[in-house]
Structures are given as C-alpha cells and as structure tokens.
C-alpha cells in the first residue's frame, strides 16, 4: 500500500507535545500503516519486547537509544523519512519532557510544519502550552493539533470538543491558529492513515491527509532581497562573495548595497560548479556565489540588498527570547550575538518581562532569565548590525546568543531601538550612496601604500600625554614609510568651524560630526589618521562614538590613556595606564595595527591583510 512515486519536494515536519502524550507512538503507527518500515523491523522490535517481557509499543520503532527505551521517553530529536504521494517527509520526533526542551526547540527550528499532540485523558498540560507558544515564537505557523488516546476516553466527542475549545483559547492569545484538530488513537490506528470507525462524528481529515495538506513554505523569493555574506573566496582569479539568499532574488547586473557598511557594486557574474550554462540569477533558499564589477571591501556579516528595500541598522533592538543556557541570562553580562552571518558582542540592556507560558502571565523587574524561560528584552550590540523585524523577514529577523562555547538562547526581533547614532548613521548612508568615486579603488591604494586606511583615536582625561603620543606615533609611522597624518581638532576650530557661534562650538555633537566627516575624507584617501579627543574634553566617549559611525567601515583603533586604573570606554583596543613609556606605547599601537590587518607585517612587503580586500 506504500505510495512510491518520485519525490518532487521535501517537507520538514516536527511532532511536539507533552511527555507521554504519544508522539513516538504516532510516528511508529504512521510508518507501519503506510508500509514505510523496512522489512522485519516491526517483527524485530516485537521480538525484543517479548524477550524483555514488556508489551510492544510503536514508539520503540524510533527510540534509538537503549536509555530511551528503558525510560520510555524520547531524549533527543530523531529524523526519519517517509514518502507519500510524491512528497518526501522528513519527520522530526521531538522530546516532550521538559528536561529536553532544547532538543524540542532544535527539532522545531528546522520544521516547516508541526503536529502538536494532546492526550485526551490528561488534557492540555504544561508542555502542550509551552510547545504551542514556542512553535509560534520559532515561526512555525503551519500546524495541526492531534488529540491522541481517544480509545481511553471511549471516543467521546464532548471531551474532544472541550480540549479543542480550551486549547484554541490559549493559542488565540498569541494569534496562533491551527489548521485542524484531529481525534486519534495512535495505538489502535484511528484516524492516522485510516479513517476511524469509532468516531463517525468526526468528518475532518486523518493525520496523513493533514500532512498532505501542509504547504511548502510560501514564496520567500517574492520578498525584498536579503543575502547575508557568508564568506569571500579567492581560490583562483575570481573573487567570489558567497552566501545563502534568505529572501528575494537577484540577477546579473543588479545593483547591491551592503549593510551596514553602505558599500555598493553591481553583480558581474553568478558563479557555480558543474552547472551548464552558467546561471545568471538566484533566489531565496539558494547558496550562491557572485562576483562584483568593483573590488569593494565587504566581509562576512554584512547583508546585501537592493537599494529600494534596505535592512534596518542599529546597535539595539527589542526581542522575544527563549533561554536554554545552563546558567541564567543576566542583565549587563556580555554574550555573542549571531544574526544571520553576523557575529558581534552584545549585552542585555534590559529585561522587560518574563512570560509564563502556562498562563502567559508576565513578571517584571527581573535581572535574569532562567533556563527554559521566555522573555521580552532589549539587546545592545558593540557594533552596528543589519537586521529586519521578524514579522516582515524571518531569516534576518531572528538571532541566537552564545554564552561561552554554547548557543544558549534564541529569539525573534520585534522592534528597532533607536540609538544615539541613528542620525549620523543616516547621514553616512545618504552620503555614501551618493559618493562620487574616481577610478582608483581602495585596493589600489592599499597595494601602493602597504597599508589600509584607519583612524587611531587616543582618548583619556586631561594631561595624560595624548597629544605627545599622537605626535610620536605620526612620526614613527611616516619614518616607517607609512602614509599618516595628525588631525588636530584645534585646526578645525579656526577654519571649518569658523561659522559656528561660541555656544555652538561648545556642543560636542556638531563638532564631532564635522570632525568625523573630515576624518572620513582623509581615510578615503588611504591615510592612517592619528588623532586625540582633546577638543572634546570630557565628552570624549560621545565624540569617539560619533567619529566611529562617520568613518565606518574604516576601522577605528581606540587607545585609552589614564594616570591610574580606571574603566576604559567601551570598544577600547589599547589601554595605557600609569606613567607612559612613549616608545613602548607606540610599539603597542603598531602591533595592534598589524593585528587588525591595517599594516602589512613587514615594511616593503605586499600587505597580507587578515581579511580579503
């Protein structure tokens, strides 16, 4: 009776629900009734059961580990495959025990549709609710609710209706709508592959028919283009930018904008191995490689899009998150954030509320989130990130947090949080888009000069020796044959800033903006700009952030000087404390410039940058 036609597509399905509500049994029954089991598998497991003196259960067909069978629970998700009516189903059996929530989430995160099981006898339980809520959070919008063990409640319709009503109400609170409620007995095979004779009152589809009605994910190719850069290869003459298109489509000749760097270029070719003729376009889902008509510097983590539909850029966003870490998520602690291919340090700026998935009650004023809790929070990143809201573009609207070595949580971005750099970032974006370029590229200059452009910014309190160090560094760089220039803010005051009133000159914002735009011009010429934050006095933190935004993506090497131990500003690269040995300090900055790939390792050598140009 097995239906063996050629597969036209794959569909990933996850089976979730409270522990013991019969997920593995449903799976076993589905395979047995569709003739999808290998020869002898059923008999083999039946024989083992008999030998061990326990009743045969369909669940044993898929619980692979000795321990799973002994405890009678699924520990980790298992992937199994079956073919039905021209479609290959990859079925993920997710554990229902709360101990193994992270495994359930790993399973559900891969799914395009879900079956959620509820035991007719036990009714809606803790994990039934949690799994329902998490499916919604994970973006699995296509799902059906299977009410199992109807044989244990004498196939009563009123009980089934009661569960449907209660659970629909719960799901309705976060606008989740199941495609179907199906009364079944997985053990006896009612309404799994075959229609039940015991429940004539139910006229809806069987589980198998429901699977057949699940649709392949809606056409993401019709959405705005998102191509997060995964890597840049130069194995041969081609410089290929690779990534997986998460939304939209692209073709040769398209004008791409990379965010957050605002770099732009046209697609020259779409590269592929062993595909004839060479493709000229790509669309959502594809892992592709493109070459550009211009050698711009882009790196992993940037998101390519068309200019009409740019992603959002900020250093902060609000999100819904589930936490799976061994230790709690804490406000103020640092984590690694991963959004698409971007990896950046971040911290939890605030925890707005923790959500109890049992009754969706909210708890406020907490400073930490424990394992298996769900919360709303705001994250702040060390550098600007390109992203989308999850409601509009899924793949670039979700993220994970890494704690130490492990992925410890994940979530969806619900809101952009405006940061204080937004205005300047917008100015930089508009300016970069309209920038008129000559024929000489960034790469040409770097090859000629033996270094890349950068800003070395020396911060610190009064009388710490900032100016002296800046002069020393400029001298050393030029003596070494580098192209460096000391940009003193004082020089701007009398000229470029001469139109400002005394009061305006006292405001950091406008002064830093002008200073940043001058630094941007100088870095575009390929120079290493050396500077202090002297003109900004004690507002050096604010000023250095503004300069960073305006010269982006040229790197800013931040050096902080202080007479005694003090907390350096965020993003400081070199910390100099106490009486300064200026020669040693200069050497340390040169090392940092080498480490960051600004300077080539040896004078006269071709620069070998840590990243491709």
């Amino acid at each position: 009776m097995s239906e063996l036609t050629k597969p036209s597509e794959n569909l990933n399905i996850v089976i979730v629900g409270h522990v013991d509500h019969g997920k593995s049994t449903l799976l076993g029954r589905l395979y047995a009734d569709t003739g999808s089991l290998p020869d002898g598998k059923l008999e083999k497991v039946q024989a083992i059961c008999k030998q061990q003196g326990k009743e045969f259960e369909y669940a044993f067909l898929f619980d692979a580990f000795l321990e799973e069978q002994e405890q009678g629970i699924t520990i980790d998700t298992a992937r199994t495959f079956f073919m039905w009516k021209g479609r290959q189903y990859i079925i993920i059996d997710a554990p229902g025990h709360k101990e193994f929530l992270k495994n359930m989430i790993s399973g559900a995160a891969r799914a395009e549709a879900a079956l959620l099981l509820i035991d007719a006898l036990e009714g809606v339980r803790e994990q039934s609710k949690k799994h329902g809520y998490l499916l919604s959070l994970l973006g699995v919008r296509q799902f059906a609710v299977v009410v199992n063990k109807m044989d244990l409640v004498a196939y009563r319709q009123d009980l089934f209706d009661g569960i449907e009503k209660e659970y629909r109400e719960f799901l309705g609170q976060f606008k989740a709508v199941p495609s179907q409620f199906i009364p079944v007995s997985a053990k006896l095979g009612d309404n799994i592959a075959n229609r039940s004779e015991q429940m004539s009152w139910y006229s809806g589809p069987t589980v198998l028919e429901t699977l057949g009605a699940f649709k392949k994910e809606a056409a993401r190719s019709e959405q705005p283009l998102r191509l997060p850069v995964q890597d840049v290869y130069k194995f041969d003459a081609r410089r290929i930018i690779t990534g997986r298109i998460t939304a939209g489509r692209l073709k040769v000749g398209d004008h791409l904008v990379f965010s957050p760097s605002n770099k732009r270029a046209n697609i020259r070719t779409v590269e592929a191995f062993n595909i004839e003729p060479q493709p000229t376009e790509g669309q959502a889902g594809q892992s592709i490689g493109v070459t550009l008509d211009e050698q711009i510097f882009v790196e992993r983590g940037e998101v390519a899009s068309h200019q009409e539909h740019l992603p959002l850029v900020s250093t902060a966003f609000r999100a819904n998150l589930f936490w799976l870490g061994k230790r709690p998520l804490e406000k103020g602690r640092k984590y690694l954030l991963r959004v698409a291919t971007k990896e950046v340090d971040c911290e939890v700026a605030s925890i707005h509320r923790i959500i109890d998935t049992m009754d969706l009650a909210q708890q406020q004023g907490s400073n930490s989130i424990s394992k298996n809790q769900v919360a709303e929070l705001t994250l702040r990143t060390k550098a600007p990130v390109a992203f989308d809201l999850s409601a509009s573009l899924e793949a670039t609207g979700r993220f994970v947090l890494v704690d130490e070595y492990d992925i410890a949580g994940g979530g969806i971005i619900t809101e952009l949080v405006h940061d204080d750099q937004e205005f300047l970032r917008e100015e930089a974006r508009r300016r970069d888009f309209a920038w008129v370029k000559g024929e000489v590229t960034v790469e040409d200059r770097a090859q000629q000069y033996g270094h890349r452009a950068a800003v070395v910014l020396i911060t610190g309190g009064r009388h710490t020796g900032k100016s002296f160090l800046a002069r020393k560094l400029e001298g050393r760089l030029v003596a070494d044959g580098r192209h460096a220039y000391l940009l003193d803010g004082e020089n701007l005051r009398r000229g470029l800033d001469a139109d400002l009133s005394e009061e305006e000159r006292g405001q950091t914002t406008e002064m830093a903006r002008r200073y940043g735009e001058v630094a941007r011009l100088l870095t575009d010429t390929g120079l290493i700009v050396v500077s202090t934050t002297n003109p900004f006095g004690l507002a050096y933190q604010e000023a250095s952030q503004a300069i960073r935004t305006l010269v982006h993506p040229a790197p800013v090497i931040a050096v902080h000087m202080s007479k005694s131990q003090e907390e350096p500003p965020p993003n400081t690269d070199v910390v100099l404390t106490g009486p300064t040995d200026f020669d040693a300090a200069t050497a340390r900055i040169l090392d940092e410039l080498k480490r960051r790939g600004v300077l080539a390792q040896a004078i006269g050598a071709k620069p070998i940058f840590q990243y491709s140009i």
């Binding site: 063996l4 020869d39 495959f81 992270k102 790993s106 997986r244 992925i407």
Partner: protein, 265 residues
C-alpha cells in the same frame, strides 16, 4: 530535481560555515557513495576546489578496488589525501574474528582518533546520514566530541535555524554532518544528476549481486540485485523495504550505539 537542489543548498551552506569557522578542518572520505557525494558537494561549495585535506582511515581490510579509485580521484581532482592507520593494532594482529565491535573500535574508531590527535584537527566533516540507522538519526549538523572523542548524546547543544555550534573548548573537536537530511535514494539521484564517478562495486556485473553499502571486505557482504546502472539502483530502492546496512555486520544487536558513543563515525 528541485528537492535535490534544496538538499544541495543546505549542505553547501554547512560546508561553508565549517570552512569559515575551523582553522584546522578535514573531511573523512571512505570512497563510499555518501562521502564521495560529500566530496562533490565540497567542490560545489568552493567552486571546484577542496580547501582542506581528505582523511582516509585505512583498516587494511578494504576492498582493493576502493584504494585504486581513491588514488585515481585524488590525482584527477588535485586532492590533499591523508591516510591514517592504526599500525600498532594491525601489528598485534587485529581482525574481525576478535569481535566486530572490538575490531571496528581498534581499526576505525581508534585509527580515526589517532589521526585527529596527530594532526590536531578541530573540525571533521563526515558523510553520515540520518536515515542510515537509529543513532545517526539523532545527530546534529555540528556535533561536539569531548577530549576522548566521545559523543554525549544525552546533552547535545541546541541547533537553531542556520546557527551551528562553531565554538568549543580546547582539546575537544566538532564533527560536521552536511548530509544528515539526505536519504539513500537522494544520494543516487544526485550521483545521476551530477554525473559523479562512483565505484562499480555498487553495480551488478552479471552474477546477480552488488554492494549496497561498502566497508571492510570481511564484514560487508553483497546483496542479491540485478541493478546494472544508477537508474536500476534508484528503481530498486523505490521498492525495497530491506534496510540499507543489512549487509553490515557491525549493526547487529547494539553495535552501532556502543560504537558511536565512543566516537565511531
């Protein structure tokens, strides 16, 4: 065909993630159909190049045709081939009559562990598939192994969307499984689609038998089959309900669970 391209896109993404995150990366190649498809996918991902070494753990009991095929492709595709062997165990006379799990542990698991240790690989790409047998169905795409190469299946890291475990404590390593979502039929369909060269041991050459899964000569037996081409194999697989590894002796009893816990591939 569309479903094959979907599988290909996912595997290519995983291979590129592996290449990006691991400085000391290698791929295991047994010359079987799966790891050869994997090798082909690497050429897809890196546009004709294979930018990491290919490891073969040679038990010395492999079917000779496999070694010839290995050396030919290595030459033609410009592969960096690294062959490892547990010479100590072989010198002590290790063979399958000492017990299959004992022999597999010594020559394959320990052979692999020695190779990883000697070369210091921190990322190893393998061609295991979820539909092969129960414990592999539980694998992650990026699956950590501890200092002894052991697999803690009770406490596997979460794997969310396209985010994988790419950071790990010193001394441990990550096994990378780009083919997890592929089935045996998919492998053959893809071999056909891409015209990938494979060993003819998989075909019936007139005696009514062929190999469905390749391993060591003493522990792998051919199946009854008259499939003489890739098309024949695909057609046969569409109708068979015999398990793929039924010709593999190590799968009997709890063999694979015990082997894989200790770091078998």
């Amino acid at each position: 065909m569309k479903h094959l391209r979907q599988l290909e896109d996912q595997s290519v993404y995983i291979l590129r993630e592996a290449y990006k995150h691991f400085d000391n990366l290698a791929m295991l190649w047994s010359m079987g159909k799966d790891s050869t498809v994997l090798l082909w996918l690497a050429r897809k991902a890196f546009f004709g190049h294979v930018p990491f070494p290919l490891l073969h753990v040679d038990t010395s009991y492999k079917i000779p045709a496999m070694i010839e095929y290995r050396d030919r492709l290595a030459r033609e595709w410009g592969l960096n081939l690294v062959v490892g062997q547990n010479k100590e165990a072989l010198a002590a006379g290790m063979n399958h009559t000492m017990g299959r799990v004992v022999c597999c542990t010594a020559l394959k698991t320990n052979g692999l562990k020695q190779l990883l240790e000697n070369k210091g690989y921190t990322g190893v790409i393998l061609g295991v598939r979820a539909d092969e047998e129960g414990t592999r169905a539980k694998e992650r795409y990026f699956s950590p192994r501890d200092k002894h190469g052991d697999w803690d299946f009770r406490d596997q890291p979460p794997e969310l969307w396209d985010q994988y475990k790419t950071t790990f404590p010193p001394g441990t390593h990550i096994r990378i499984h780009p083919l997890l979502d592929w089935t045996e039929i998919n492998i053959w369909e893809y071999i056909k689609l891409e015209q990938i060269p494979f060993i003819d041991l998989y075909l019936d050459k007139g005696d009514g038998t062929r190999y469905r899964s390749l391993g060591c000569a003493p522990c792998t037996s051919p199946i009854k089959s008259t499939a003489k081409s890739v098309d024949d194999i695909i057609e046969e697989l569409r109708h068979t309900t015999v398990a793929e590894r039924s010709g593999r002796a190590q799968d009997e009893g709890r063999g694979m669970e015990l082997l894989r816990k200790d770091g078998y591939m």
